[in-house]
Symmetry: C2
Subunit: 157 residues, 2 copies
């Protein structure tokens, strides 16, 4: 049970993008976070395909959020990077062995699968309740009010 580390990168990038007024190239986002440029590019493309960010090509291109940060939940970012596959995947072992469950009882998920899916639903609900804007506010609280001014200043360099 491990989440892709790219999720952390993507979330941080979204927070930064929420504070930038111009498109930010992947190059810049990568060096700001001290991470691999080429690999981050892959994840930004995933965000793009998910419709969370939009890209502009060419000389002064880069990435911009497509919606206000308050309308982008952490769940959106997580699912854009990590996919929509549930963590628990039923192998239907109840259909194996000397006493297999009958096909008609297998039409709906068994109790085990139901419990797992309910738990994952609770997890998703919790992540959906937090937006990128909330996170940005948290950063200000933790690092001081001028934090994003410094970020914008560095991005303009």
């Amino acid at each position: 049970m491990k989440m892709s580390t790219g999720v952390e990168w993507a979330v941080h990038c979204c927070v930064v993008l929420s504070q930038a007024e111009d498109p930010v190239p992947a190059q810049r986002l990568a060096e700001f976070h001290g991470i691999s440029r080429t690999y981050l590019a892959k994840h930004l493309q995933q965000l793009s395909r998910a419709g969370l960010v939009s890209s502009t090509e060419g000389r002064v291109g880069g990435y911009v959020l497509t919606r206000p940060a308050a309308e982008i939940s952490v769940l959106d970012v997580v699912q854009a990077i990590d996919g929509h596959e549930p963590a628990f995947r039923c192998t239907e072992i109840r259909q194996n062995g000397p006493l297999p469950a009958s096909p008609e009882t297998c039409r709906r998920a068994c109790g085990v699968a139901r419990a797992m899916h309910t738990a994952e639903q609770a997890w998703r609900d919790s992540l959906r309740a937090v937006s990128v804007a909330d996170l940005a506010a948290g950063v200000l609280e933790d690092n001081g009010p001028q934090t994003f001014d410094r970020v914008r200043e560095w991005l303009a360099t």
Copy 2:
């Protein structure tokens, strides 16, 4: 984000064990579910180390639950197999780059990590609310009242 498939095996084994009156050898549990004997043995050892089942060696050995099924939650089984590591692991990328966060602000987890951990807590709470006994009751409901009689009969073979 993927849970070990051994979790499904382990949960099913616990349900079966909750209905057996004698110790059940790994061999038998494996063929009942149509899965690998040697690999399942590994997982049963993990359950044993976690204190969920107890093993008796020797000629008529096997596995028995150490507690009533109602006192074993699905979370217990999941953590015994999958470990206690959180799915989200902070890499502290806020300390990288041209504007690193100061060491004292990094003493506590940032907003991103807090949101992730809260969500995982909700997931654990949901799994903790379901016991192996609950699952066994669900099986009876899905597969008919004589299901476990047939299971016990086969185990006695």
